[in-house]
């Protein structure tokens, strides 16, 4: 080191070169710090995502745009609210975009997903905005999926045509800010260059027609291997009432606007389910085919969001009857795949489905309606938009292990942590 200086990271003094980028200094000191838009080779750093926020001398700063100076007091993990702040940034990105992980080509290799798992994002505290965004099929080789763009700016900085012109640029401003592509420049890219652009996109916003990612789903960066299974996500579960002697806990389940996949995943508990039936009593649930609540329930498990008036009525009843409500799966948590319609006006959806489809006969076609059938809501609502939800198990479907741990927690009041590999959105 030419000009060594001393900074304090979480109470520990370390020596670094004067003017080192703070994020590098922190990582060199083997302190784990997440980031989404920081790449060593991009100088100056993009500084857009703010996930690498730390506290320096009492103020929040993005560590990727701050230079280490002598005497700096840096807090990374010692203050748990900083972890929450970084988590909030990732949750904001989820709420802002339309990230349907189970339907995304990049799923498993997506850095936003990885960051969500790492930080333990099981639900976004922010309601999803569901803004209608373009999928741009105009470029020669690429498809630009604006729903998935997190505006990190990496492609803007890195993807250049052979004569040094930018292929991407930020466009518009405010909540309309997006990354636009230059069709003319894009057409000059070689196939290798185009595929490179797809690879450097941290999410699935840049796709190349006819090209898929090398590894199959389930076998990707954030599915296995690269994230050590020793890394866990601490979960805090709400308290359940104490049991009297000989009493069994009562569970109810329901599938609202879902596909029953989460219920299938519950069955994936395999032999565990045999233990379970000994220990708990099921009340209203498709598993028992009990249609109506017959008593007060300890835990209600909700699959699916609310897409019609009946879903809302059922969910409200669950809230009244159950001490604790658990949203299970992406649909219950924020709408999931059914919420793909949320960016399209309901009238258009209904007309497309019932009036203009290939199978509808012009004369007879109507949009179904009768006093006995539920009314379709203007959009699919997350369960926690309708009632309070106490816990969220993410996934499409959630991992059986994650479910099992939650169940164990309820039954035995045991603290537990979820492994990173048990944390899934797809």
């Amino acid at each position: 080191m030419q000009n060594p200086i001393t900074i304090t990271i979480d109470g520990k003094e370390v020596q670094v070169e004067d003017g080192t980028l703070l994020i590098s200094a922190i990582r060199e000191a083997v302190v784990d710090l997440p980031s989404l838009c920081y790449y060593k080779h991009i100088d100056p750093p993009l500084g857009t995502c703010r996930v690498c926020t730390v506290e320096v001398n009492g103020r929040h700063v993005a560590s990727c745009t701050t230079l280490a100076r002598n005497g700096m007091n840096v807090v990374v993990h010692d203050d748990p609210t900083l972890h929450d702040t970084r988590k909030a940034m990732v949750e904001m990105l989820f709420a802002e975009g339309n990230h349907f992980c189970p339907a995304c080509e990049k799923s498993g290799d997506c850095d936003l997903q990885g960051m969500g798992y790492q930080l333990g994002v099981n639900v976004s505290r922010f309601p999803h905005l569901f803004v209608d965004r373009l999928i741009d099929y105009n470029p020669k080789r690429m498809v630009i999926e604006h729903n998935r763009c997190i505006r990190c700016r990496r492609c803007v900085d890195e993807v250049m045509s052979s004569d040094g012109k930018r292929v991407f640029s930020f466009a518009n401003r405010g909540n309309d800010t997006e990354v636009a592509i230059d069709y003319e420049q894009e057409a000059t890219l070689t196939e290798t260059q185009a595929i490179h652009a797809m690879h450097i996109c941290p999410t699935g916003a840049i796709l190349v027609r006819g090209k898929s990612l090398a590894r199959p789903f389930g076998d990707r960066k954030y599915d296995i291997g690269e994230l050590a299974d020793s890394q866990t996500v601490p979960i805090v579960f709400p308290e359940v009432r104490a049991l009297k002697n000989g009493e069994k806990k009562v569970i109810a389940t329901v599938s609202l606007a879902g596909c029953f996949g989460c219920h299938m995943s519950m069955l994936d508990l395999d032999l565990g389910i045999l233990d379970l039936v000994e220990l708990v009593e099921f009340n209203k649930s498709p598993l028992t085919d009990i249609k109506h609540f017959t008593k007060k329930v300890d835990v209600g498990i909700i699959e699916g969001g609310c897409c019609n008036s009946e879903n809302v009525a059922v969910l409200r009843e669950f809230r009244r009857k159950c001490d604790i409500l658990v949203s299970i799966g992406e649909c219950a948590i924020w709408g999931g795949l059914p919420a793909m319609r949320n960016t399209v006006p309901l009238k258009e959806c209904l007309e497309e489905a019932y009036l203009h489809s290939f199978t509808s006969e012009n004369e007879a076609a109507i949009i179904p309606n009768h006093e006995d059938i539920p009314k379709i809501l203007d959009k699919v609502y997350a369960c926690n938009e309708v009632v309070d939800i106490d816990y969220f198990i993410p996934g499409c479907p959630p991992s059986a292990n994650h479910i099992w741990k939650v169940v164990k927690n309820i039954l035995f009041d045991k603290e537990y942590s979820v492994l990173l590999s048990e944390f899934k959105y797809d």
């Binding site: 993005a62 802002e96 922010f126 636009a180 209904l350 203007d378 926690n384």
Partner: protein, 574 residues
Amino acid sequence: MQPIQLARPQLLNAIWAMHDVKGFLDNNDIAQLAILFNTSAVEIDGVVSFYHFFHRQPSGKHTIYLNNSIVSELNGFEEVRQAFEKETGAALGKTDPTGTFGFYETSCIGLSDQEPAALIDFFPVTELTPQKVKTIVAKLRSGAPAATLCDEPKNNIRYTPGERTFILKEYTPGTALARLKDFEPMEVIQQVKDAGLMGMGGAFFPTGIKWEGCRRNVSNRKFVVCNADEGEPGTFKDRVLLNTMPGLVIEGMALGAYAVGASEGIIYLRAEYRWLKEKIEQTLEDFREKSWLGDHIPAKLPFSFDIRVQLGAGAYVCGEETALLNSLEGKRGEPRTRRYFPVERGYLNKPTLVNNVETFATAARILEAGAEKMRKLGTKDTPGNKLISISGDCAKPGIYEIEWGMRLGDLLALCEANDPNYVQVSGPSGVAVSMKERNRRICKEDLLCGGSFMVFDKSRDLLKILLNFSNFFKHESCGICTPCRAGNFILNRKLEKLQMGLGSLRDLVEIEDWGATIKQNSRCGLGQMSPNSVVDAIHKFPEYFDQRVDKSGSRLNRGFDMDAAVREYEEAVK
């Protein structure tokens, strides 16, 4: 033959030149600019789409921008909007079918003391009424150019503190400049330091330290930039300064240039003040004739300095100094990361001094009158005087030169606010103040004010005001960092929910939490200040919010409105 190529800082001017011809840029224009600037079309488009006065679709032979800031909204925006739509045949955000008129809304245009106001072809029209709109549009139709119809905006200088007036006293051009004969550059800086001058744009950074920092950075080229991008809603003091004494501002810039060793100056003038450009340029010309600008400015040391005016194009964030520098360089006005101060690497990476209009004007007054004179005014931490732009519910909206330290209640009495309930100090990004705080003093020791002072009486609905502010930030965020871009959008939805009467106590807690997240983590001042007004208001007007949220603690979320949720379906199956 090599095509002629232009340097990137010329981009905004090149776009303006093309834009002025037909009121928008088509794809050919963009392609042509891409060739001129040797860049890709998407990069040009990125710049064009950043600034809201640039259009990519026809914007009419006459383009009308109606101000949608809160003071306008409370003084008849809606009726005036309807009148414009009726008379021109253009719906808001569009042109009429014949393409004669384009009608758009825009954020504060610096005329809050004479609202509702609009710009027509960038000429101001003020105190609009449906009747006045009818007359104006009829005249435009009959071929009268907007320049002949516009109003000369009133300066409305309502109050100066008599003998103790410092900024708005009589101005004799050349007085401050003449003082340079007695001063070394460091002595000029010392004067500014001794006077205790701080940045009057709202950041209040000590001006002397900034000047000294810029002087210390050795470079063959330095710049002095005057930030005339007065965009904070409710502020119009810089407009009045530039309209009444542009020379004073120019002299201030020249002093700054002499002090830091710069020879090039730029006034970054917001497009909303385009109507002032000619006046400023004429003044610059007069100065050159008198050798007050140019190669041989009489000063103690050899000194040459000249100034050009750069027109902005509509973006509030360009008032942030690093965003302004990017804009000057012909880029999107995104704030830079704070690795270097502008005095280290500013415009074109050269040391650059950026100060606000009022700061330069005050600097000139300091050299005229001497630092001690200013020290005798104001408070210990904020010596001197401040220009305050008062608007809203008071009998005398306009400019007030007050001594720092004046009590809020006294200022309210001066402007004849009869029934004030809520004052938004320093604009939407400032502080919300209730009448319990009447005794607070306007100064650094207590309550700073960057210039905007909006008064609202008891008849005004707080949420309507806050939602107006929130809409403003949602659109004016530069969009580059997550908390400001997404966070302000999210807060905006939350306020809409409250306004619909669907809020609960938890929503108020969340607004505070999420507001803190946006404040602490945004890249620049815009994001860092954006949640201030709403968070303050929740604290200071608990009775108001108490009545508007569900406090039952019910676990059935009141925010879900079943009637509203099935309305679309019921319409569709009717």
